[in-house]
Point group: C2
Chain length 214, copies 2
DNA sequence: ATCAAATCGTACCATATAGTATGAAATTGG
DNA sequence: CCAATTTCATACTATATGGTACGATTTGAT
């Protein structure tokens, strides 16, 4: 019927680029200044275009925020799955995972994002849901499956693997992540991260050590 | 020299009452609507007085916010110390403490306060500090001292008592508190709280069980 | 009673913001 | 090349906010 359509007409390509550019500028501003302190006019200004164009892409500030959040959280889940190779030493794997996790989660942008979500989750519960589904829930699912196998092979004592995954994550976060959230430190040093992982892992392995036989 | 001054002249009493009234109205609004969405004019309106009066008591919105925060966090630390009686069963004591702690921390106002602090800790680091000192740090100090004694008497394995206290608290918070923060639930049921405490305590006691002799 | 401090009501200011309107210029598709 | 779409720049609307000014009134101390 119709001519074979190019995958992206010039217009569509332009549109996609523009949209991405808007999301980048807006995300930066939301992360750095929060929702209230981010102004649409400001975004339009740093973009260089006109306000009319901005509103052509996103019908309201709230819609733009939602799009930014979706963008940021989607880009989040990367590079964890391949660490969780069920072969290999359990403690080593959990340690590598913890390091990766903590590095991600203590990055300034991650902290800013977490702050942003928590502060707006009251007013926009859907935003809380988007974040929750994409970030902690998704990560936990990965860890749950891994721990489940470890329990089955007797490397860990049996228990609810989902709770175990939650516990594992929480034990990692009790150190510098808390301080970051409350603004008591602004950066986590690799040394701090390693200390947190070492301690959290030790604690986790003790709590989930296989039951002493008989 | 001067006449024996009454502890509170009429003026001073009035002033104190007024101040308290302002703090109550303002705190409610900050907790329910956040910092940005709380307006000085609105506070003045619900107070009934005039705006001039409001500014007579607090020279700026920021100052009023700081005062509210100080007020709220000071009222926070209550009723924990007497639970921590070093006599009596360790597990029982830690369980009672956990219940009290979690009840407090999952109360809607507490969640709102925590949200508020986290969201403004970037812009106002001093506020983060006020909160941090008054609430988690203070609580942790109490628990630390208690756990220290338990370690000395061999009820728990030795380790950094401060880290242990942090771990204890964190293990309690991994359940419904997280969901509350992200707006995925709006209330914690007593049943949920108890389940969280039971699990967290079990985990903690395993991780800090005295080393097997020999 | 008298005087000073506190409060009130209200109008006001400067500024800022989300969002709209518009007419001209540029880009794209055919 | 022409018509449709998009973008630009800019001016504008409507509204809201922190904070000030001020004259009138109430309250408290002596």
């Amino acid at each position: 019927m119709t001519e074979p359509v190019p995958l992206l007409s010039r217009r569509e390509a332009r549109r996609r680029d523009r949209r991405k550019a808007i999301l980048e500028v807006a995300s930066r501003s939301f992360l750095e200044n929060g929702y209230a302190a981010t102004t649409m006019s400001g975004i339009a200004a740093t973009l260089g275009g006109s306000k009319g164009t901005l509103w052509r892409y996103f019908p309201s500030k709230e819609a733009l925020f939602a799009a930014c959040l979706d963008d940021a959280t989607t880009a989040y889940r990367e590079g964890l799955a391949e660490i969780l190779d069920p072969r290999g030493d359990l403690a080593q794997t959990l340690r590598r995972l913890g390091l990766k996790l903590l590095e991600k989660v203590t990055a300034p942008d991650s902290v800013a994002l977490y702050r942003l979500v928590i502060s707006e989750a009251g007013r926009f519960p859907e935003m809380g849901a988007i974040f929750y589904e994409h970030v902690p829930r998704n990560t936990r699912l990965l860890i749950t499956r891994f721990l489940e196998r470890a329990m089955e092979s007797g490397l860990l004592r049996r228990g609810d693997p989902d709770t175990a995954a939650r516990t594992y994550m929480m034990l990692m976060l009790s150190g510098c992540h808390q301080l970051l959230l409350l603004g008591q430190i602004t950066r986590a040093t690799p040394h701090q991260i390693e200390a947190d992982v070492t301690f959290g892992l030790d604690c986790f392995l003790r709590a989930y050590a296989p039951d002493a036989p008989g």
